[in-house]
Amino acid sequence: MCLAIPVKVVELLEGEQATVDVGGVRKAISLALVDGITVGDYVILHVGYAIQKLDPEEAEKTLALFAELGDSMGTAPA
């Protein structure tokens, strides 16, 4: 059960690497498993690799879902 949290690509680096913004923290990741990534794209990150490119609409829906999840996690489960 690995959550598919979208992260934004902020810079492309050499050697199929990129810098992403993870909740305000910048992190270098590998783009070796995905094609056609540009700055500003949202990707799903898994153990250091971008595994999927999201279109802007998908990214927005997913981010809204995680915002909702964040709100619901403040209380213990019923």
Binding site: L3, G23, L33, L65, F66, E68
Partner: protein, 379 residues
Amino acid sequence: MLLVIQEALRNGKQMISEGKLEFDIAWDGRRIVGAGIHSSRPVFASRVLEGQPVAEALKRVPLLFSVCGRAQAMAAAAACDAARGLRAGEAVQQARERALAGECLQEYGWRLLIDLPMLLGEPSRPGELADLRRRIAAADDAFKWRSVATAAEELLERAVFDMPPEAWLKLRPAALEKWLAKGAAPAPRMLARLRRLHLGGEFGLLPWLEEAHLPGLAAAMDADAAFVARPTFQGQPAETGALARQRAHPAIQREIAQHGATAAARLLARLLELAQLPAQLRDPAAQGIRSAAPHPGTGIAAVETARGTLLHRVDLAEGRVVRYRILAPTEWNFHPDGAFVRGLIGCPAKSETEARGAAGLLAHALDPCVSIETRVRRA
């Protein structure tokens, strides 16, 4: 959990993390004498499905989960079908089985082409996996799945087995030993290394869950919210995954009889499943998905993934999800008294680095779906 959110709120943007497993290893200078696990995995993420109409909940599942998105979607569909008293037609069932096998192939590919070389101190080979992942992502009919199967066979022959996977499956015991002793690919070399380490052991494997097992598990998942964080079967922690599924295979029986249920047995079981996946993609047998409805409106589904059995349990009322619980394989294998902790205790380690390495190798054999962090302290 609250701390995670508070921290996320302080950060302003990112709301929640995928979590990780933190291992605290106690090492006395000669062997590992204690192991603790702290999990920050958000096991209650399924709560965002509650209150939603069924169709919306089913749309949300693949958005929530990344690496195992297809298995999660299949489990959700099967659990909701069961709760509504529906049964998917044969074509839909075949499509679901193919999707599961495809995702399994992708995950096993990651273990063998990215993780194994890294554990052996060699460059990982993500480029090889990228092509296969592209084909799997685009596969939406039988024809495309057959082309995935062909591409997978070529890749597995070249990068894993040094021979066609179906030929590897037919190797007699002596020939398998020869492959293991002389194979140049990372898999046989890692198998040989893991056999020498005596890492692991047998601490109770989760049985193949039949439909008759499911109502009991549905009740346990309902009665105690914490069950999905620390699951047990018949009161005991149990290991899920390739070894649990392949325990009756003659090659696994031989491996355990001669070398014990080490991390090598787990890797061998994974290879046995991997070699069979192209055939499953071509002509899917009904094997990965079971479901039951303990009461009208309640559904539970068990789905086989690369990491083990994934369970979804749902309560529906008037077309909406009232309660949704997910029990993932990582919680079985990384239970505080489960296969990882018990398999590590007693493992010989001459240095702190060796102790850390042993934890990494056993974790790889049990395949958590999040990143791990290992701390070693002198006991």
